[in-house]
């Protein structure tokens, strides 16, 4: 009889210990993913703040590019609206669209040498390039954290606890396919061009 009670007690303790450990590790991963997501939001907000300045600066030199300016402004509004939904899928679609209008804005700027020489424009360009860079790295970190978190809550033994304690799989921040298709120009190395 005592043997049976002790066995049950030991099994219960083991289960409790494993459960606590599993629960804590899920919370830890979810917090890391949330933190990664808030980093993305910081960079997106910075991007949205920089764009009106950039458009105004380019407008001063390139007066005949109204279509490009409107496209950027509209894409920015759409991206801000998508940001309010807090849904990674919608946000990534809207932000990728904004990214491609920005690229066409910079392509327009290429045609105006006096604009490209302007210090204000150069500073804005560096700020925006940096923001895009940070966004890209924050996105990768978020996706890696999300993948780890999703894998953990979908595999045994944690899957048993995930549902009742409200751990749900999170969406990825998708990369811009258009950006991937832009060929990398490299004059120094023959191995870098994706020819095969």
């Amino acid at each position: 009889m005592w043997g049976f009670i002790i066995t049950v007690a030991v099994v219960a303790i083991v289960i409790a210990v494993i459960g606590t450990w599993a629960y804590n590790s899920m919370v830890r991963r979810r917090n890391r993913t949330n933190e990664a997501w808030s980093q993305i939001e910081v960079e997106l907000e910075r991007r949205h703040d920089l764009i009106p300045n950039l458009v105004e600066t380019v407008k001063g030199y390139a007066t005949h590019e109204r279509g490009t300016f409107d496209a950027v402004t509209q894409a920015r509004s759409a991206a801000i609206a998508a940001g309010a939904t807090r849904d990674p899928n919608q946000i990534s679609v809207a932000e990728n669209a904004l990214g491609s209008t920005l690229r066409s804005l910079f392509a327009v700027a290429e045609a105006y040498p006096s604009l490209r020489a302007s210090e204000n424009f150069l500073a804005l360009q560096e700020e925006l390039t940096a923001t895009e860079d940070k966004l890209e790295y924050a996105r990768r970190y978020y996706n890696t954290s999300t993948r780890d978190y999703n894998t953990v809550i979908q595999t045994f033994p944690r899957v048993v606890l995930a549902r009742p304690f409200g751990f749900v799989a999170l969406g990825y921040f998708l990369a811009d396919n258009e950006a991937k298709q832009v060929p990398r120009v490299d004059f120094t190395s023959a191995t870098a061009t994706p020819t095969e």
Binding site: Q39, E126, T129, A130, D133, T193
Partner: protein, 310 residues
Amino acid sequence: MYEQIARNKRRSVLYVGLFIVVWLGAGALVGWLAAVSGNVDAPVGNDVVLGITVAAMIAALGIVVSFLSGQRLILAVTGAHEADPVQYAQLRHLVEALALGDGVPTPAVYVIDDPSPNAFATGFSPAHASITVTTGLLTLMDREELEGVIGHELSHIKNYDTRLLLIVTTLVGMAGLIASILWRNALLIRGRGRDGGQFTVIVIAAGLVFGAIAVLFGPLIRLALSRRRESLADASSVELTRNPVGLLRALRALQADEQPLARTNHATAAMFINNPLHGREGFYSHLFDTHPPLEERIAVLEGMAHGLTV
């Protein structure tokens, strides 16, 4: 690539273990010497244990010292100053971006005014770390190359190489200090008392043991460690930037450059991305090269770049 990182980690654990064994072994040896040449009645084991304990305490002291002032000391010795946020905007932005990608706190950014292109990272932990580049590196490299170099330095921080090097460098320095103190004292107290001669022999022998650590074994371990770690940081940098080409081009540019760095020495040389002593060293120095040849590292990166495109 992941396989390579795992292998590198295993090897450096081995080297660190070896360093600890030799360090404590030196303490044990001194204790044993004291026992066999001193009082015959006392058991030898006690003195050996005492020697090991003292060696462990000295090592602990060294770790505390490197934690408290190692980074500041190294930045001062190399003549680094904090990077101005406006003047070095691009550099700071790249460091911030890559730190985001790694999920580590943004390290402090320092600059050395020197035309020789080079970079290093230091710091006891990722939360208290710094990345330093020379002005020569900034003029030589474009954004993509700089990204590869910063990724390399950030990997040193993330993999705790900077802590490892700080501790090993401090301990090797302390071994040298102990050796010189012992030798000086051995001459001062010579011939005093009945066992004076024996005592002098022990002190000189202990000085020799620590001297050997300082000038021979310490540098050997440091070079074995940092050679491994350089390759590991290259691989981690590519893992982070997902672009072997940037670092590849950066290393090619460093290979083409032969200007030695002005303010450098053997203790700090191990930290830099490119050996800062090149152009002014002889055969003896090459024995203690802290970096694998650039050609080797370039070949590995070329393999990675090729693997991505096929």
